[in-house]
């Protein structure tokens, strides 16, 4: 599979079509699974990892949910390709940090995928647009059932699915939503609101997982626990909390439009539009800040030189790996900033 071909295919999760898409960019659900016959990846020697990768690739080839899926061994693709997979949310930084005997399986429109030999042998994943965790649970669980027909999964009668780290044991489930909270951020409420999620057994973190900076007021909200409640209950807990966040964010956006606030908000959004339309050099962080402001303006119904589909797409295409994939080669930071600014100007004018 030529990864650059994926640039032309729109991933399902970036389309602004899902429920509550004005606030919820995408939902992601993963199930962690392991093979009974092999040590967990963090402790497995190369031959065990190799055997696990082969078994998972073979089983996935027989799964109807992954018909016409691509299977990639990470050691067979370039560093730029691996970076591209991370930005596409098909691989984690941990997975690409040691590419040997690691792989990914990527289904149609990138909705269903599998990371092989990350922290666990299998990380089954579903991503789609808007708040759609229940729907994703159905899809990922069906894939899990298909794979379990041919793979002997590690399952404990009392503790459930066994995982390398006990923080994932039981359901192996993490349900998360990528939410855009510029209204709460501008009104200074975002930290308080996110902290209150802790009481509901949820955690909030920056855009692309642990340790990354919060870019463009995008946050990821997910369940903290994996053992005890059923999959349906865990998903329902996250969905309800995200619905609350959507209400709080919508209220904050409405309040920002009152009085002098409206002029300040318009000034911020149109300055961002100006930068995106005219800048000659732009870092990824700056691009995300301006795209976030544009996304806010569009959700308020303002007429701007790009629609939500384009803005969502640009949040993905502006990432360093995507810019290099567009160039077809590795670029230094200065060249990336130049190409990014050119790309943004072009997209906003078309």
């Amino acid at each position: 599979m030529i990864l650059s071909a994926m640039l032309r295919v729109k991933m399902a999760w970036a389309r602004p079509t899902g429920p509550r898409h004005e606030v919820v960019l995408s939902s992601r659900l993963r199930l962690a699974r392991n093979l009974r016959a092999h040590p967990f990846p963090p402790r497995a020697p190369a031959e065990e990892l190799k055997a696990a990768l082969k078994a998972v690739f073979k089983a996935s080839a027989a799964a109807k949910s992954l018909e016409s899926a691509a299977r990639l061994e990470l050691c067979e693709v370039s560093e730029v390709d691996r970076e591209f997979l991370v930005e596409r949310r098909l691989a984690s930084r941990l997975l690409i940090s040691e590419p040997a005997h690691r792989g990914v399986v990527v289904g149609e429109r990138e909705v269903l995928s599998i990371m092989v030999n990350e922290e666990d042998h299998l990380r089954l994943q579903g991503i789609d647009s808007g708040l759609c965790l229940e729907d994703l649970l159905g899809k990922v669980s069906a894939l899990d059932d298909e794979l379990a027909q041919t793979l002997d999964l590690a399952f404990h009668p009392e503790l459930g699915f066994e995982t390398a780290c006990p923080t994932n044991v039981g359901t192996g489930l993490r349900a998360s939503a990528l939410v855009h909270l510029p209204g709460l951020a501008l009104s200074g409420q975002v930290n308080g609101v996110l902290q209150s999620l802790g009481a509901a057994g949820l955690i909030a973190r920056g855009h692309y997982g642990e340790g990354t900076k919060v870019l463009g007021d995008f946050y990821q909200v997910s369940n903290a626990r994996s053992l005890g409640p059923s999959e349906e209950d865990l998903v329902s807990g996250v969905s309800k909390a995200v619905e609350e966040l959507v209400r709080a964010e919508s209220k904050a956006r409405t309040e920002l439009l009152r009085g002098l606030g409206k002029s300040r908000l318009e000034d911020m959004v149109f300055r961002s539009v100006g930068s995106l339309e005219h800048a000659r050099l732009m870092t990824y962080e700056e691009a995300m800040q301006h795209l976030s402001a544009m996304r806010l303006g569009l959700s308020l119904g303002w007429e701007l030189p790009a629609d939500l589909t384009t803005v969502n797409e640009l949040t993905v295409l502006s990432q360093p790996g995507h810019v290099q994939m567009l160039a077809g080669k590795e670029l230094d930071a200065g060249d990336r900033d130049f190409l990014r600014a050119t790309l943004l100007r072009g997209k906003l004018k078309s």
């Binding site: 967990f40 930084r93 941990l94 955690i203 920056g206 626990r225």
Partner: protein, 150 residues
């Protein structure tokens, strides 16, 4: 080995961190590992470290020295937070129960089970019996029984 951060106390944990696209590793003492976990906005890790650092019930009395299947010692788990293989869950069942109760607030799974078809299991049981792999046959027989009960 001394802690890479304070350079005073012995290193007890290997902390792997991913910041700004860079993966870094550091051997840290308990206090510095706590600090690192808080900084990295990783509540699950912070919770796990807190438990492994002494809040969890002492495992020494009842836990075996190491996993009979993969050789992982409980001290290895305390350092990395990772178990070695599925059999570790049985080997270290007693100390893990305390860790899970604190970390997850539960010690019993109530969700889905692996969806193996009974026909497939019976086929595999026949194959195991034919090859005189009685240990595997007994495991498959138990699985079939559990499937009927479920």
């Amino acid at each position: 080995m001394l802690c890479a951060r304070c350079k005073k106390k012995p290193a007890q944990f290997l902390i792997k961190n991913i910041v700004d696209n860079q993966v870094s590793e550091a051997h840290l003492c308990l206090d510095c590992a706590h600090g690192a976990a808080q900084e990295s906005v990783a509540p699950a890790l912070a919770g796990l470290l807190s438990l492994l650092g002494g809040a969890a019930p002492a495992p020494r009395e009842k836990a075996p020295a190491k996993c009979a299947s993969c050789g992982l010692r409980w001290t290895d788990f305390r350092k990395t937070g990772f178990l070695g293989c599925p059999a570790c869950y049985d080997c270290f069942a007693v100390p893990l129960k305390g860790v899970l109760q604190e970390m997850q607030g539960a010690v019993r799974h109530s969700g889905k089970r692996p969806a193996r078809s009974s026909a497939d299991l019976r086929g595999r049981l026949d194959a195991a019996l034919k090859s005189e792999n009685y240990e595997e046959a007994a495991r498959l027989r138990d699985l079939i029984r559990k499937g009927r009960a479920a």
